[in-house]
């Protein structure tokens, strides 16, 4: 049973396509675990599409002024573009080129994990890590946010830390707990900078994480780790 979900606001931004890639991946992956959120997203998408496409558009004067442009584009479609598209599709189908990689899983420390569908094209780096904690950075191209897969081996923990910005953790496999609770696959936790926590796991876990600012490790020996905190997440 998944206990932690994205809120309505996040879901609706996702349905509109207005979230950055890193967060869209998180919501989409959560929805693969969580039928309830998937249904809500479906409903939102239906409502948005009806609003966009099935209602008389009061302020459609701009479209009216651009009538000529639409006509031009349409006649271009009819006279050549559609035929070109069909030819392209036929060519693509005929060339039995190499299949796209459909491997959507990762292996770390002998553990094999199948990933949600949305990660299909995102895994193209290798694992880095120290001790029980390993990280695989996703290249989302967003300067403000770092998205990663994070693996913690059995009986591992992340040293106590707070977040300078917010931190998103989506548990993909295994379990972990912190001072607040124990989490299960699909749980979606968005923590802001006021939370201090130190997740630990007994059976090991795989998470998808986003941090949108450097982490600060705050406790004892882990201060030593501070310079490489960036490496862990």
């Amino acid at each position: 049973m998944i206990n932690y979900h994205p809120d309505q606001h996040l879901l609706s931004l996702h349905a509109k396509g207005e979230l950055p890639l890193s967060m869209s991946i998180a919501i989409s992956a959560h929805a693969e675990f969580c039928q309830h959120c998937q249904q809500q997203l479906d409903q939102m998408t239906i409502a948005l599409s009806e609003q966009q496409f099935e209602q008389a558009d009061a302020k459609n004067t701009a479209a009216f002024e651009k009538h000529g442009e639409f006509d031009d584009l349409l006649s271009q479609f009819l006279s050549s573009t559609l035929d070109t598209l069909d030819t392209d599709v036929r060519l693509a189908n005929n060339s039995t080129s190499q299949p796209e990689s459909t491997d959507n899983s990762v292996t770390i420390k002998g553990q094999h994990y199948a990933l949600p569908r949305v990660f299909k094209k995102q895994i193209n780096a290798s694992w880095q890590g120290i001790g029980k904690v390993s990280r695989l950075r996703l290249d989302t191209g967003e300067p403000q946010a770092r998205a990663s897969l994070l693996h913690i081996a059995a009986n591992g923990e992340i040293p106590d830390h707070t977040h300078k910005g917010s931190e998103l953790t989506l548990l993909l496999a295994g379990e972990f707990s912190d001072c607040y609770n124990t989490y299960k696959p699909g749980d979606f936790m968005l923590l802001d900078q006021d939370h201090e926590h130190s997740p630990k796991t007994t059976e090991g876990c795989l998470c998808y994480t986003i941090v949108d600012a450097p982490l600060y490790f705050t406790k004892g020996i882990s201060k030593l780790l501070n310079p490489i905190g960036d490496l862990l997440y």
Partner: protein, 220 residues
Amino acid sequence: MENVQSQSAQTRYDKGHLAQRSSNQRNGAMKSDEPNPLADELAQLMMQVANNRCKTSFAKLFSHFAPKINSFGVQRLSQQGLAMDLVQETMSRVWTKAHLYNADKAAVSTWVFTVMRNQCFDMLRKVQHNREDAFGDDIWPLFESDDAENNDDDFLLSASLLQHVEELPPLQRQVVQGIYMQELTQQELADKLNIPIGTVKSRLRLGLEKLKSFMEKHYD
């Protein structure tokens, strides 16, 4: 049966442009039993495009959707030129992916919205991060397109299947290739290889079982 439906649809279009839904239906999601003439018309047009590559129907879909896609693009992409790009890219996909549309899974509007939103997402990333990637369809699988994914998968599947055929032991490979790629009958193949038809059958069965286990391993 399709012909009958499309004819009646055709006469309706001749009368003029598509009906708009009245705005008092706007609260929340549509109930599926609520009659929705616009949605029915759009579905007919999609079927014409998908099955008959009907350009007249495409033109009608274009006239309905293009201005609305444009206004979505203007809000989202702010630059006018890009809004028209969004119209072009979205309508191109409507044409090439029409066969993947499944009327049982979603209204045409919802499907086109999904195509448009995904396209817009990729265009925005290009503008904002200078990224030429196309992740939209991975993040929001074309909604209702279980079939679509299966079709895509079939394409990928057959490509990877071909690879695995190469890995079969030679005798089994020969039979699998003969039956499935050269499309010989079992008897023709038996004659050609000068072996009993029973041997063809058993090699084929072994080969297919092996292929199946390759694929299962691959997709676990």
